[in-house]
Amino acid sequence: MDDIDSRTTPRWLRPIQLAFILALCVAWIDASSHALSKPTFRQYLMGWKMFTEKSTRGTDHRAEVQLERGGPFQPIELSAYFPSRWGSGYRYSRFRDKKRFGRVAAALCYRLESPAYAVKIYQVRCHVKQGSTERVKPSEEVIAHHRCARRVRGVGGRTIPLHPKLEAPER
């Protein structure tokens, strides 16, 4: 250990580094003190909330497709069409609002193997039961009922494309 190379921060840089850490601490304290509030940018970036509150219910989604006008709605596996998962659930699982699910429904129409007349997406809420993955007292509501020929504006004002076979006659 004779040839130890030992260096540290030059003196002129030390106040800047300490000020940086102080600023970081202030930002953390500020963000942390609002961590459970509706997120703004600071909490979103720097607020830590991990399993803090008790959760007694879970939310899932299911979908149905109506191939022809007046025909029956048949269940389909929604996650098969939007398979990407994050740490907790599917990408769409995070949302609860009808506007966003209108877009999911329009995208579902686009992704179906063959064109459909309409799709429905249900939001299913149920209680969790310790010791089991069984979902207790499920209740569901239609969060999106979309006719596949109708155009929907997506993010950034762009229009979500119709199913390729529905688009074709318009060209």
Binding site: Q17, I21, W48, E53, G89, R94, R103, Y110
Partner: protein
Amino acid sequence: MSSDDAKEPDWLDRLYEPQWAIGWTYARALWVVAATIQYGSDVFSIPDVWGAPDLQMVSGPYYRLAEYFVLTPTAATLWWSCIMLAIVAVAIGGRFTKAAWATFLVLAWGWLAYEGANVKAHDRLLLFVTLGLMLGPTNERQLSRKRRSPFGRWVMMTVFCAAYGATGWWKLYKEPTWLTDGSVLGNHLVHAFHGGLPLGVWLSRQTWLLPVLTIATVVWECSFPLLVWFKRATAPLLVIGVIFHASLLLTMNVGPFAPIAFAAYPILLHPDDMMRLHTGLVGLWERVRGTS
């Protein structure tokens, strides 16, 4: 960076006394593993997310790139490839390491901010750990013979004090069941998304054990920001941290949170202890090689 003999307050010199730097080598290696786990499989989601022509799901209170442009599958694959190349450059190490980390930070944050739909705690933690690593001597080699400024370690400690402290103190303040019947953990273990793993479901039935685990969690999280600054407390704190994260890994779907946190642990461990651990590991390795 240079030693300076000029006059200055003694406390600042003592504060900035150089520390063993070997922990940064281990942290870099663990970071490469964690970042690869985090981003490696995203390529399979490109058709569904980043390269999808039909659905962007913006969320979060900041600018979402998808509001301004849509990536084609080719562009998304190119973007992802650049993230992976930055990880490879970090793995190689040397003089371009910090540039690679800076590139990674920009590209990875953009990757998350494309939709911002579901930025998780482990996504953000990886970026903050990367920032901490950038501020350490990670672009140097032969760190087992070097002592360097403690500044990078302080940044990393600050990051983890905030992460563990904030979540622990909020549990203590906001949710009584963390200190009573443990049902808060029991419910999370069977939650539709982040729960449901077989060991977690079994654990949620052990009503005698849940309060022990929840109280231990809150005590550990709350005490971390206070104790991590004391040399003698750091090793026991981090051993509990390893057990804590490994247990979460086995019982809940929390993404690669554990490997990301572990990437910082060689820095959080006091540098003298890290040097001892390194010497022990090298000795063990040499004995194994000698006998084989």
